[in-house]
Symmetry: C2
Subunit: 179 residues, 2 copies
Amino acid sequence: MSGTAERLLDLAEAHIRDRGYAGFSFRELAAEVGIKSASVHHHFPTKAAMAKAVAERYAKRFLASVEAKPDESPDDAIDAYRGAVRRTIQQDGRMCLCGILGAEAGALPPEVTAEVGSFFRRCIEDLAGRVRGPDAYARAHHVIATLEGGLILARACGDIGAFDRAASALYPSTDGRVS
Amino acid sequence: MSGTAERLLDLAEAHIRDRGYAGFSFRELAAEVGIKSASVHHHFPTKAAMAKAVAERYAKRFLASVEAKPDESPDDAIDAYRGAVRRTIQQDGRMCLCGILGAEAGALPPEVTAEVGSFFRRCIEDLAGRVRGPDAYARAHHVIATLEGGLILARACGDIGAFDRAASALYPSTDGRVS
DNA sequence: GTCTATAATTTGATAGAC
DNA sequence: GTCTATCAAATTATAGAC
């Protein structure tokens, strides 16, 4: 993967996370890295292929960032996910890449839809194994859903505090109060 | 509001909920109701104005559908929201209109963003008043976020059961088990 | 309210030179 | 790997007739 290709992925990811799949174009990306749009097709043959590459890279990076620590508690695992998602919106006020693409599922090429589905299944599988207990799967779904929805609220309200309030109720033991 | 204008709103709403703001065009809507795109501008001057009208109508309808019942419990209120959101995805597998638009906030004209923010603030204000208690606002944020994120999961996984699993943990008293 | 016609722009993609 | 040149299609929007 060349340096130019990586920069293109960076820019495409930023645009998708802010404006969705229709929110980036080869021409715009090309201008931002200082080449012509035809040259972008040398790195990624089609828009769908590029979006798929963005999603693959995002999934790999995100899953690495929530990796389990030895002897963690279920609340530690939940907090790893909460922290990872919060960092994304704190850095640039944008959505989770797969969150916005999941919402736009009806507008996506099949290979992108598949990558997004794979991302969420892997997150849930991983998290369910770390929270354990009889309701592990429901709990994993609940955590991921709350975090994705919290991003929507924060963006719609223009207030990152909305994400924090939504996520605070993820720890029933403290009932929303941080010790 | 003429019959044609209502049908245009219906179609625009369906397309936005499936594919986002960029997922509907005046030409496509016109073809679906059997007129020309120029005629759509007679009913709605711009695309932004039309999307705003869609959001206004959606907010009014949704808030009416979750109206408080006399002597309801906090869990009744949460269930009213859960049921209203679940019905939307059950009917056609699509997102909440304001959920997908909130995710796409970076791509929206300002008047649409404003309407989406207003929708979520009204939902949270209403729900917080009905769950009561010291953490009412955090709890209201949490419920709305979980439901919106649950829609994303259901669409990404192609399984409405993902929404139900995410929402099941919304009732701590039963810990995910339905009595 | 609807039409024809059209402007001005943007888009994804390709062919072929260097 | 990047370029020029170009295509075919789609988009939002407007002017003005009926």
